[in-house]
Amino acid sequence: MTELSLKINGEDIAADVEHRLSLADFIRDHRRLTGTHLGCEHGVCGACTVLMDGEPVRSCITLAAVADGTEITTIEGFDDDEPMSDLRQAFHENHALQCGYCTPGMLIAARDIVTRLPDAEEDRVRLELAGNLCRCTGYVGIVKAILSVLDQGRA
């Protein structure tokens, strides 16, 4: 077991966990923040994306032990976040989700796009999204939603 102390969604957390525990399983099973989903556990699908110190990372291939001392934000931690609020509304209006499983990771990736690449156009948005798989929507609504938030920002 290894001791951790980190911040999740603003809350200070101390825990004692197995060395091999992934950050994703720590968030889900130990902290019961089940909005972070596991879609492949080998770093490809993006469903488990969370922010670590403000940057999106794959929580499935990041050890909980490595997250010691960091600040984690999960999908449950964006209540007062403006870009996320805009994205949520845009996802809703553009039918950017169906089953909802990829949605938390998709939103966090989308937030990274709209904050890091304010000038991105459709091709760039698609390229940046390539690491987040959605099996339901064909990405139509997701791309539209992100572009609409980018457009708002540029207006």
């Binding site: 060395h19 091999r20 556990e41 080998h42 291939i61 990274d112 390539a130 987040n132």
Partner: protein, 271 residues
């Protein structure tokens, strides 16, 4: 799947890591960003007993230009390179390569040193850096040493690092303002591992690398000679003919796409 049991040890210095590696009586691995090792452990394809975590070790995250050498710490992430922290033409080249590695959320954690030390043949840095030229710096029981990038990658998951050495960084060639480079990757989808890589730099001397092979990336002297002779293009047919002379084990399709990759890398370099 979940990883088999291991012990995660936080290192505070490179020396501690070297010491731990030297004294190990079980399987021990150095953990960089963990973005390659993580999936392999999750699939239980890798089952190390001990992981040495270098994230608390100072001094491995620096980028500095030192005359005609560009020093890059092993723990510099792909994302930092993508974001343009490496200066000059070399930086532009590396920025292009970095931005094609996997996805942003992986690039935020994955490190250049980890990638080269892990030595997956389909990864970008072993080919890209070989085309750039320079040295790997490694810390071992005897202290630091430098190892030429030429020949450093031996094969899949196999490098010139000793069992008790830690890769600490790179000293890379600086491409001048007029230098040319081209990097072309054939893969099925953005972010996926490469099926073929063609990497070309034309700085002080041209370097051409055929990557994403079954084994280590290799330099293609015939192409380098043509470039030295002033060629600014390479047809796919010519590239095929050249590669056929190498012992690659390619089937027709693999030969084709590696030829295309080299041909298009040359084309990009001179566009």
């Amino acid at each position: 799947m979940k990883p088999a049991k291991f012990e995660h040890q936080r290192m505070t210095s490179v020396d501690d890591a070297v010491k731990a590696l030297g004294e190990a009586d079980k399987e021990i691995r150095v953990l960089g960003g963990g973005q390659s090792l993580g999936p392999m452990m999750n699939l239980r394809l890798a089952q190390p007993d001990v992981l040495l975590d270098l994230s608390r070790v100072d001094g491995l995250t620096d980028i500095e230009e030192d005359g005609n050498r560009l020093k890059i710490g092993s723990r510099v992430t792909h994302a930092r390179i993508e974001d343009g922290e490496v200066p000059g033409t070399t930086g532009a080249y590396m920025q292009f390569v970095a931005s094609g590695i996997s996805y942003r959320s992986v690039r935020n954690r994955g490190t250049i040193g980890g990638s080269v030390a892990h030595s997956d043949p389909a990864a970008d840095w072993p080919s890209a850096l070989l085309a750039l030229g320079g040295h790997v710096t490694a810390a071992g029981p005897e202290g630091l040493r430098t190892i030429s990038l030429d020949g450093f990658t031996v094969g899949p998951f196999s490098t010139g690092l000793g069992f008790d050495e830690v890769l600490t960084g790179f000293e890379l060639a600086v491409l001048g303002p007029g230098a040319r480079w081209g990097y072309y990757k054939v893969n099925r989808k953005p972010g996926e591992f490469a099926d073929a890589i063609g990497a070309i730099t034309v700085g002080a001397e041209p370097r051409a690398v055929c990557g994403a092979t079954e084994s280590a990336p290799f330099r293609v002297p015939e192409i380098e000679q043509r470039l030295s002779a002033g060629a600014d293009e390479l047809s796919v047919v010519d590239a095929r003919n050249i590669l056929e002379e190498h012992d690659t084990g390619f089937d027709d399709y693999e030969l084709q796409i590696h030829a295309v990759a080299l041909s298009r890398a040359v084309k990009r370099a001179f566009e």
